[in-house]
Symmetry: C2
Subunit: 556 residues, 2 copies
C-alpha cells in the first residue's frame, strides 16, 4: 500500500493558475508562491464582495478516538465528489502547524487519495502564515518587555502579564521559562512561557478578521495583562497595533492550492481547537462561498467542541449560514465508544456498534438544534463488516438521518459520489433555518449553561472560586457580552476524557476564564489545557531527509 | 526631500520574470513569490554550473562611524551604473533581518535612488528564509531538550550546551533565560538564551553551503555542546541533520529581486558580521557570477572585518576570486576619523579629512595585500566642500589609488557612471592575483597573529586563560585547521571602539573561542559580542501601519 507522501508525489500537479480558472480567478488575482501555491489578492476579494454566497457544508465528527475518524480526508473527498457530479465546489480548510510534523508521523492535509497538494509544502512553511503569526506574537512580547525596561509608563504589573511568547514547534522545555535574567541591561526578570503558534490569540484573530482594518481593530483590543490597580492593559495602550498589522498584511490573504483531483482548495488559518475556535479563516470561507456554488469546510475535534464553536462563534461573521452538516464516523471509532479496546477493533462486534451509536446520535441531534439538516458519513475501513454497516445504517434510519458509506481514502472522488448525491438531495429538500444557541446579550453563565446542558448533555455548571471572581471583573470590563469559547477535552461530551459514548448525569466545572478580547471571545477552561506539546522519544524528525534535488523524504 | 519608502513606492516595478530575462533566466527557472520576488530553481543553478564566471567586484568600506558610509547604497548604484554603461551586471547582497526594522528606522535595502525593491517585502518576511533558519535552529534546540528529557542516551552535560535558541526580533529579555521549569513533565531545567536569527550558526552555514548535500554535511558537523567527559556532541550524533536540511530546502535557493533601475539582484543570506562572516550566500554570488559579466557584492562592516572574512573565509568557496575591491568612504566619516565630533560635521575641515585619511589608507593597503586592485568611492553628501574633496583626491593620488565621487543616493545610476568607468578601466589594466592571508594548515595562533599584525596594524596577540585551554582542546578535536572568524568591534582597527583613525601600538586579547564547526570556522572573541539587540525607548514599531489596501506605512 502506498504511503500518503508516495501518493502525493505520484500526482502530476497542475499549475495553480490553471486550477483556479474554474472558479473565475485569473493570473493577476494571484500572488504566486512557486507554481502550485498562491495567495489571493485583496483586489479580487474586493471584486467578489457582492457575489451571492453559495451553499455551505460543514464537516464535523463524533468525539475522536485513537481509532481515528478522518474528517479532513472526508472533507476533501466530498469536495472532489461534488465536483465530479458537476457541482462547482471549493474546499476551505485549516493549514497545519509545522511543530507537530517534527514529532509524530502524520500530516494535516488529508490522506490516501483525498489530499491537498503539494502536501510537503503545506506541512512545512507553506506561504509563511504561521511564521508571520509567530513574529507578530513575539514582537508584541518584545515590545511589552521593552516597555517595562524603559520605565513602564503604563504601570504594567509584570506579575500579571498574560501575553505569552510562541514557537511553531513542539517544545516542552519552553512551557515555563524565566526571562530578563543576567543583568539590568537585559530587562525586568519575570516568569513567562511559550505556547505553540496555533494557540496564539493572533491566530484566532487572523481567522476571524474580515479585512485589514478589522484585523487591526481586533489586534488593538488584545488584553496583554493588568496594571498594578488590576485594570486591563490593551495593545492599543502600547500603540503597536499598526506594526502588528503590518507584519500580518500578507498572512491574512487566503492561500490557494489543489486537491489530487484538481479541486481548488483554500487552506488558511489554523487556530488550536482546544483554546480557540478551531476553524479556518472567515476570509477564506467567505471567499470560497462567493466563488463557488458549494463550499465544504471543517471544524476541529468532535461536533460538541468544533461545530459548536463554528456555529456560535464563526458563523455570525460569515455572509451565510451552513446549509448542511456532515457528521463523520467510523465503525471502529463507534465500537470504541461502545466499549471495545483498540486492540480488539478488527473483530466484528455489532453490539458495540449499537452501543457506540449513542455518541453519534447525540451529535446528530445537537446539530439539528441549530436548524441545519444533517447527513452521516461513514468513513470506510477494510475491517468493516456488512453486519456492522447494516446495523449502523438501521440505527441512522431510526433517527431519520441520511447515511452513506464513503471510501474517499482508497478511491478518491469516486468513493464520495453517493455521499455527495445524498448531501445535495438533503440540501435541496430541507432548507436550513439557522438558530444560534445563545445570544450575545446572555451573560457568560447563561451561555455556558446552554452549551453544557443542550450540547454536552450535562446537568449543570459549577464555577470555581477563581472563575467566580473573574465573572465579576469581566462584567466590569464589559467583556461579559462576548461569545464563549469552551476549552474541554475533545474525547468526551463531559470533562472526563475516559467517559466515551454519551454520558449523562455529569456536571462541568469552570476553573478559570481567559479573556481573548482581540479575537472577541472568552475562553472557559474546564481543566488543564495543553498549549505546548512535547516531542516523543523517537521524533519523526529522525526519519526525515531531503534528496539532492529537493524532494522531501520521510515526511509522512 | 522624499523618504526611501516614498521613492520606492513611486517606482513602477517590472515583473521579476521580465527583469531576469536579460541574464538568461526564464519563467520555468523561477519559483515566484508574488510578482516581484522569486527563488531560482535548483535546475537552473545546475544548468549554469559550468558557465565561465564573470568578474567579481567586492564593495567594502572604512571603519563605520555614526556619520554613515552607505555601502549598500553604493553597491546598488554601482551595479546600476555598470548596466547603464553597457556591462551585463548583477548584484548579490545580504537580506535584512526583520528584528532591527521594528527597532530603529532604517532598512537594509539601500537608500534614495539606489534601492532594491520591493523594499517593504525585503525588509519584512521576504521569501521566508529567516523564518526557515529560525525554525531549523529552534527545532534543533527542541530536539536537544527532548533528548535530555527522554533519558539522555548521549550523556550530554546540560550545563555545557552551547546551542542557543533564536528569534528574528530585538528582544533583550530573551538574552538570558531558564527553560524546562514548572514540573518534571516540562523537561530538564537549565540555563539558555536567545540570539537574533542572523547570529545563528545555521545562517552562516546556509551562506557557505554550495548545495543541499553540502548543507546537510555542514549541519551534521555543528557542535551543540559537550558530554560529561568534555567530548563534543555533534548534530550527527542526534541524527537530525536530514530534518534540519528539509526545513531549509527552499531557504537555500537564492532570491531574485530588482533595483530601481531594473538591475537583477540576488538578495540572499545575511549572517551577522560580528559573530559570523557577514556576507551574502556563496550560492547567490556564484550564481550571479555564472549569469552576468560583472557581479557586485558587499561585505559587512569595515574592510578589516567584513572584507578580511570575505577574502579569507568566503572566497575559497567561490568559483573565482575578486577582480577589484571598492572601498567606500564619506568625507563626513573621514572627518570623524580625523577627530571631529558628529555635531560639527557640517563645518568644512580640510585638516580633519587629511587626518582621517589614515583610516582609509590602511584599508586600501590591506586590500592590496590580497593582490587585488582597489578603487576608492566617495559617497557624496550635500555638505561636502570642493576643498575637502580635492584634498581627499590628492591624498588618494599620493598612494596611487583611483578615486571617484559618486552621488548614487541622489542621482541613481547616473551618479555612479564615473565610478563604473574607472572601475572597468582598473580591472582591465590591473589583473588581480589573489593571495589568501593565511593557509588552513596554519594553526589558530598563527592565523590570528597574521590578521592582527597585517590587517589591524596591531603589535601582538594575547590569549586569555580560557582561550589558551581551548587552543589545546580544539587541536585534540581536530578543529585547529579551520579558518578564523574574528569577533571584534567594527568601529576601530583595534579592539577599542573609541580608537578611530589608524591606531598602532596596540595588542589584541583573545578572550575565548566559539567553535562553529558546521559553518567551518572558529570564532575568536576579542570582547563581549552582542548577539541579541534590544529595542529603543521609542521603537520604530510605534510609527508603523498599513493602509486598507495593504500599502506599508512608516516602514522607513
Amino acid at each position: 500500500m502506498k504511503s500518503d507522501i508516495e501518493i502525493a508525489q505520484s500526482v502530476t500537479l497542475k499549475p495553480i493558475t490553471e486550477v483556479v480558472e474554474q472558479v473565475g480567478i485569473g493570473f493577476d488575482d494571484l500572488e504566486l508562491y512557486g507554481k502550485y501555491k498562491a495567495k489571493l489578492s485583496f483586489d479580487k476579494i474586493e471584486e467578489v464582495k457582492n457575489n451571492k454566497p453559495g451553499k455551505l457544508i460543514l464537516v464535523t465528527a463524533i468525539n475522536p478516538t485513537p481509532a481515528g475518524e478522518g474528517k479532513s480526508t472526508m472533507s476533501i473527498g466530498l469536495a472532489d465528489a461534488l465536483n465530479k457530479i458537476g457541482k462547482k465546489t471549493m474546499i476551505a480548510l485549516r493549514e497545519p502547524s509545522l511543530g507537530p510534523v517534527m514529532g509524530i508521523k502524520g500530516g494535516a492535509a488529508g490522506g490516501g487519495y483525498a489530499q491537498v497538494l503539494p502536501m510537503e509544502d503545506i506541512n512545512l512553511h507553506f506561504t509563511g502564515d504561521m511564521h508571520a503569526i509567530t513574529t507578530a506574537n513575539n514582537a508584541l512580547s518584545a515590545l511589552i518587555d521593552n516597555h517595562l525596561h524603559q520605565g513602564n509608563e503604563l504601570g504594567i504589573d509584570q506579575r500579571r502579564i498574560i501575553w505569552k511568547r510562541v514557537v511553531d514547534l513542539n517544545d516542552r522545555a519552553l512551557r515555563h521559562v524565566t526571562v530578563g535574567l543576567g543583568s539590568p541591561v537585559n530587562g525586568i526578570p519575570r516568569e513567562d512561557g511559550f505556547d505553540i503558534t496555533v494557540a496564539s490569540e493572533i491566530m484566532a484573530i487572523l481567522c476571524l478578521a474580515t479585512d485589514l482594518e478589522d484585523l487591526k481593530e481586533r489586534l488593538a483590543n488584545i488584553v496583554i495583562g493588568y496594571r498594578y490597580d488590576r485594570t486591563p492593559v490593551y495593545v492599543k495602550d502600547l500603540q503597536v497595533e499598526g506594526a502588528l498589522t503590518l507584519i500580518l498584511k500578507d498572512a491574512i490573504k487566503p492561500n490557494l492550492v489543489q486537491t489530487i483531483y484538481g479541486t481548488p482548495a483554500l487552506v488558511h488559518g489554523g487556530p488550536f481547537a482546544n483554546i480557540a475556535h478551531g476553524c479556518n479563516s472567515v476570509l477564506a470561507t467567505t471567499t470560497a462561498l462567493r466563488l463557488a456554488d458549494y463550499t465544504v469546510t471543517e471544524a476541529g475535534f468532535g461536533a460538541d467542541l468544533g461545530a459548536e464553536k463554528f456555529l456560535d462563534i464563526k458563523t455570525p461573521n460569515l455572509p451565510t449560514t451552513p446549509d448542511a452538516i456532515v457528521v463523520v464516523a467510523t465503525l471502529r471509532a463507534l465500537k470504541m465508544h461502545g466499549g471495545v479496546a483498540k486492540a480488539d477493533l478488527t473483530q466484528e462486534n455489532v453490539q458495540a456498534v449499537k452501543d457506540g451509536f449513542a455518541n453519534l446520535e447525540r451529535h446528530v441531534q445537537n446539530m439539528r438544534k441549530y436548524g441545519i439538516p444533517v447527513v452521516v458519513a461513514i468513513n470506510e475501513f477494510v475491517t468493516d463488516t456488512a453486519d456492522e454497516i447494516n446495523a449502523l445504517k438501521e440505527l441512522c434510519r431510526s433517527i431519520d438521518v441520511p447515511v452513506e458509506l464513503a471510501s474517499v481514502w482508497a478511491d478518491g472522488a469516486d468513493g464520495g459520489v453517493d455521499l455527495a448525491k445524498t448531501l445535495i438531495k438533503t440540501i435541496e429538500e430541507n432548507p436550513a433555518n439557522y438558530t444560534r444557541l445563545y445570544d450575545d446579550s446572555d451573560d457568560l453563565e447563561t451561555k455556558i449553561t446552554k452549551i453544557v446542558t443542550e450540547i454536552y448533555g450535562g446537568k449543570a455548571v459549577t464555577f470555581g472560586p477563581k472563575a467566580k471572581t473573574q465573572l465579576k471583573q469581566f462584567a466590569q470590563f464589559g467583556w461579559d457580552k462576548l461569545p464563549v469559547c469552551m476549552a474541554k477535552t475533545q474525547y468526551s461530551f463531559s470533562d472526563n476524557p475516559s467517559q466515551l459514548g454519551a454520558p449523562t448525569d455529569f456536571d462541568i466545572t469552570i476553573r478559570e476564564f481567559v479573556p481573548k478580547t482581540g479575537a472577541g471571545f472568552i475562553v472557559a477552561l474546564t481543566g488543564d489545557v495543553m498549549t505546548m506539546p512535547g516531542l516523543p522519544k523517537k521524533p519523526a524528525a529522525l526519519n526525515m531527509d531531503v534528496a539532492p534535488d529537493g524532494t522531501a523524504i520521510g515526511l509522512f
